[in-house]
Amino acid sequence: MTITHQFDYIKAKSVAHACKLLSKKGDHRLLSGGTDLIGHIKENLATPDSLIDLKGIDALKHLSVTPSTIKIGALCTFSDLLNSKEMAKYFPAVQEMAQTVASVAVRNRATVVGNICSAVPSLDSAPLLLTYDAVVCVVSSKGVRKVPINQWFISSRQSAIRKGELVCAIEIKMPAQKHGATFVKLGRYRGEDLAQASVAVVALPRDRYRIAFGAVAPTPFRADQLEKLLNGKQLTDNLVGQAVTLIPSLVSPITDIRATKEYRTHMCQVMFERAVETAVARLR
């Protein structure tokens, strides 16, 4: 498929340069991995005036670790997450998630920041980022602002990013205490399939839980009501049963080519039950 749409290509020299280019009149899109964007341009779903390539900006390349935070730079790919010793040590579930994203050749190119900027309901990185209370760092020519991830996803394909802004990183606080986490994704086959439903569960000491779902609502979301039900109580079969009964009222999946809403709802219940069990086992 030849790209029929014409656009300019500019390689940004710095974050400030990219912000300046973005602030000009017209439809300017940021390019890092391009695994979504190039596809959209091919299908004329995106018709930008220019592409601003960020790959030459060293400041965006790093997956940097401080004692308090792990920072995923805008150019960090899913393969970078998989190759990171720090991720393996502190956030093994994030690697578990990265392993489910498309296939190796896409993971080598696709970035985590690009993933959250796509803001599609099924994006794989969102449920865990929600459970870890990640923060999105956004820059523009006006300065920097930080958006909590639970305010990032506005609706399907719409994030909280404003015109002229660039996401420079995602920050995740280092876990203050031992925790157990897991990510479970339902796809038709491994490799290149979007999630039909996904769930992330983080189990913390003293019976506290963080739970998020993906692909079963217009945006990925934290299941506050489930957390409220479980928090502070000893996890029994009865309690998990109550939580499972609650799930159909929390999710609002659609029926499409991949699965029916009934199937997705049912699988949310099954996956939640398994995910809680795994997260709790990993906490021990």
């Binding site: 498929m1 030849t2 790209i3 029929t4 749409h5 014409q6 656009f7 300019d8 290509y9 390689k11 390019l31 391009g34 695994t35 190039i38 596809g39 341009i41 091919k42 592409l51 390539d53 790959k55 393969s79 392993q99 498309a102 296939s103 190796v104 050749a105 896409v106 080598n108 190119r109 086959y189 491994r190 490799g191 290149e192």
Partner: protein, 153 residues
Amino acid sequence: MKVSFTLNSETRWLECQPNQTLLHALREQLGVKSPKCGCERGDCGTCTILLDGKSIKSCLVLACEVEGCEITTLEGLMQSGLTPLQKAFLDQNAFQCGFCAPGMVIAATELLEHNSSPNRGEIEEALAGNLCRCTGYAPIIDAVLDLVDNGGK
């Protein structure tokens, strides 16, 4: 615009429009035909090449993005004849129509570079982004396993 890069150990350059994909530039301007045009939306893996040593889908990369990069296609891997992996593919009769083969070989080459003794599951995972329209997956995986049993090389 002019873009220069290393292609299969040679310095090359080309004149391209910003909207030209790397896949088309390789096939049509540089005459490198091992990457194939399949789905052209990043799903099938027939256009897989190595960019700075990592496998990528060349249908989802613009030619202008590879300035200064190092590109390796199947032609580059077999500069001194068939690679052990290709021989294993032949031995296992892993090619039917052969359309997916360059992508499969590139993906398996990348795997073996990082992991000299993958198990069947790891091979399946590494090749999950490469579709075979003849559905000949079993001999393809067997071919990669052959190499593992021979000590990885």
